[in-house]
C-alpha cells in the first residue's frame, strides 16, 4: 500500500513526530511504500539541523534525516509554515534576505500543493498531531 504521512507537531513537546517515525519504520518494514512525509504547523520544526538534544536522548531530527537517506523518502516542509517559524534553506535565505540556513539533510521546502498531491496519490494519508 502507498502511504502519505502528515506531521503537525514539533519535536520533543509532542509525541506526534516520534509516533510518526515509528509508524514510518513499521510501514517500510512491512514492505509498503511511503509516497511523501509532509511537515506542517509546528511540524516544520522537525527539520532544523540546529537541534541539540542531551546525549542520552533521541535525536529526532537526525533520525528523520537518516531514515530518509536509507529509504529515499520524500520529506517536504511547508514553505509558509517554515517561513513563519524560521526554517530556512539556501533558496529561502536568498529570497527573504536571511543570513543563515538551518534545513536538515533529507528535507526540502515546498508548497501545500505537495500535501494535496500526496493525498491524491497515496492510498492512505495518516495524520500525526495533537
Amino acid at each position: 500500500m502507498k502511504f502519505a504521512i502528515l506531521i503537525n507537531e514539533g519535536p520533543y513537546t509532542h509525541q506526534a513526530s516520534d509516533s510518526a517515525y515509528q509508524f514510518a519504520k513499521a510501514v517500510l518494514a512491512k514492505g509498503h511504500e511511503i509516497f511523501r512525509i509532509f511537515f506542517y504547523h509546528d511540524g516544520v520544526n522537525n527539520a532544523t539541523r540546529l537541534t541539540t538534544p542531551p546525549q542520552d536522548d533521541r535525536n529526532i531530527v537526525n533520525r528523520w534525516s537518516k531514515l530518509a537517506e536509507e529509504h529515499k523518502l520524500d520529506m517536504v516542509v511547508c514553505v509558509a509554515a517554515a517561513q513563519r517559524r524560521g526554517i530556512v534553506d539556501e533558496g529561502e535565505a536568498k529570497r527573504n534576505g536571511k543570513d543563515a540556513t538551518n534545513l536538515a539533510p533529507g528535507f526540502r521546502i515546498s508548497g501545500l500543493g505537495q500535501l494535496i498531491e500526496a493525498g491524491i496519490q497515496a492510498d492512505r494519508m495518516v495524520t500525526f498531531g495533537d
Partner: protein
Amino acid sequence: MTIKKFMMVNRKAPYGTVYALESLEVVLIAAAFEQDVSLAFLDDGVYQLKKGHQTKGVEMKAFEKTYGALEDYDVTKLYVDQESLAGRGLTADDLCVPVEIMSRADLGKRMEEQDVLLSF
C-alpha cells in the same frame, strides 16, 4: 487529475492556536487543485465560525472573512456538529456563514465517505 474527497476537520478555537488559520490555507490549496473539499467543525472548532471576530486587542490578523470567501472557491460544504454548537450556547444565527448543522452520528457518516481526512 484525480478528484478525491478531502475533509478538513476543525476542532480548535481560532487564534488560541494557529491550526484554524493554517487549516484554511490547506482548504484553499485543495480547492485550487479542484478537489472535492468539505469542512467539518466540532468541539471548540465551532468558535471559528462565530460572527464578529475582534482581534485588534490580540494583534492578530482576523480571518473570519475567509470563511465567507470560500464560496468563491466552490467550497460550500461546511458541516457543523450540533452537539458542539449547543454545548457552547450557540445556534446557526451566531455563525458568519451558512452551514449544515448535523448530529454527531451523521457527521461520522460524512467522514466515512471521505478519501482524505485532515484533522487540525
